[in-house]
């Protein structure tokens, strides 16, 4: 018995698997699930950053395990540690070398506000030199706190109008 062909829109057997969505959603989904960090390990917080990358906390569950010490292919700079004025210029320089779009996580009290170092040599918060998206409190923050910051940042990236800003700096 021959049935009438009543496919009038889309037949997956003929056309293959296609998903229809918004360009913004796709771009942001790709971006937020491959947040490659630029590790800026300057002090003790860097040990917690390494712990986040190690087996127990496993930052690669969030697609953020690619920590190369190069700004060339990184998306999020994780400033972990005390930023002295001498180092601040290098931090800014590396931030400038990162390809847009780029984000910054200030990890720990020192990167967020200078921490307990109210002294002549320490930059009182890395937000004076680079734009910070997420601040992580703690001295040092536990690795879970850093993972939480990455999840927060993923949420922020997911809401961005990506396509409209695609060809802007």
């Amino acid at each position: 018995m021959v049935s009438a062909n009543n496919d009038f829109t889309y037949n997956s057997k003929i056309e293959g698997d296609v998903i229809v969505t918004k360009a913004d959603a796709v771009v942001n989904w790709i971006r937020s699930h491959s947040m490659w960090p630029m590790p800026m390990g300057l002090a003790c917080c860097a040990i917690e950053l390494m712990a986040s990358g190690a087996a127990r906390h496993d930052i690669s569950r969030f697609g953020a395990e690619v920590m190369r010490f190069s700004p060339r292919q990184s998306d999020v700079m994780i400033v972990s540690g005390t930023v002295t004025y001498k180092m601040a210029t290098a931090v800014r320089r590396i931030y400038d070398q990162m390809a847009a779009p780029k984000w910054v996580i200030a990890m720990g009290a020192c990167a967020s506000s200078g921490g307990m170092y109210r002294s002549y040599s320490v930059l009182q918060g890395v937000d004076r030199i680079v734009p910070v998206d997420v601040y992580v409190s703690g001295c040092p923050p536990r690795p879970e706190a850093l993972l939480d910051a990455i999840i927060k940042l993923q949420g922020k990236v997911a809401k961005e109008p990506a396509l409209g800003k695609l060809f802007k700096a």
């Binding site: 004025y85 001498k86 601040a88 210029t89 800014r92 320089r93 400038d96 200078g114 307990m116 170092y117 109210r118 002294s119 002549y120 040599s121 320490v122 009182q124 004076r128 030199i129």
Partner: protein, 206 residues
Amino acid sequence: MTAVDVVSLLGGRFPRVSPRASADFPAINVSAEDLPAVMRVLRDECGYDLLTDVSGVDWGMDAEPRFGVIYHLHSIAGNAYLRVATLCSVGEPPSVPSMVSLWPSADWHERETYDFFGIRFEGHPDLRRILMWDGYPHFPLRKEFPLAGVETVLPDEEVAAETGVKVQPAPMAGGPFVAPQEDTVREREPRAKDESWNERRPKPEN
């Protein structure tokens, strides 16, 4: 080997060497002129083969001479420490003979002391700053330098131009921030000594 032993061993050769009051290990006072010769005797004849530390002292704005240098020597064979204190020359910059020719480890220690006190080490092969950047206009561990710092320019002109950021004094709301040395660990978080004021609430007048 006590300070008295060291002084008696240095004997009649250096009449200006005197024992120095010390709470832990032997210490001697040496004048800056005698320093190279005394240190050579200590290294070659007393077995102090390791220079573990060089640090400066600022005795205060009206002290004369104002700056001193403290050396910590260690004898690996005898497992003994010795502290040698000297006073720098009067005037600006204060100076003292360098010990790099005797102990190579003096190199970075003396650079650090120069960095923070501005003490010149005569005969040092490479007397540059080591922690602060080249061109930093102050010596941070001198008594007249405030803990919070003073306003200067960033070490990198490009970054300074792009961000408009300067080196600014740190906010010292009730500081310095120190960890109280009592109570439990959770109570030892560093905190301001005077928490009655901060940036938003001005210091009470009383």
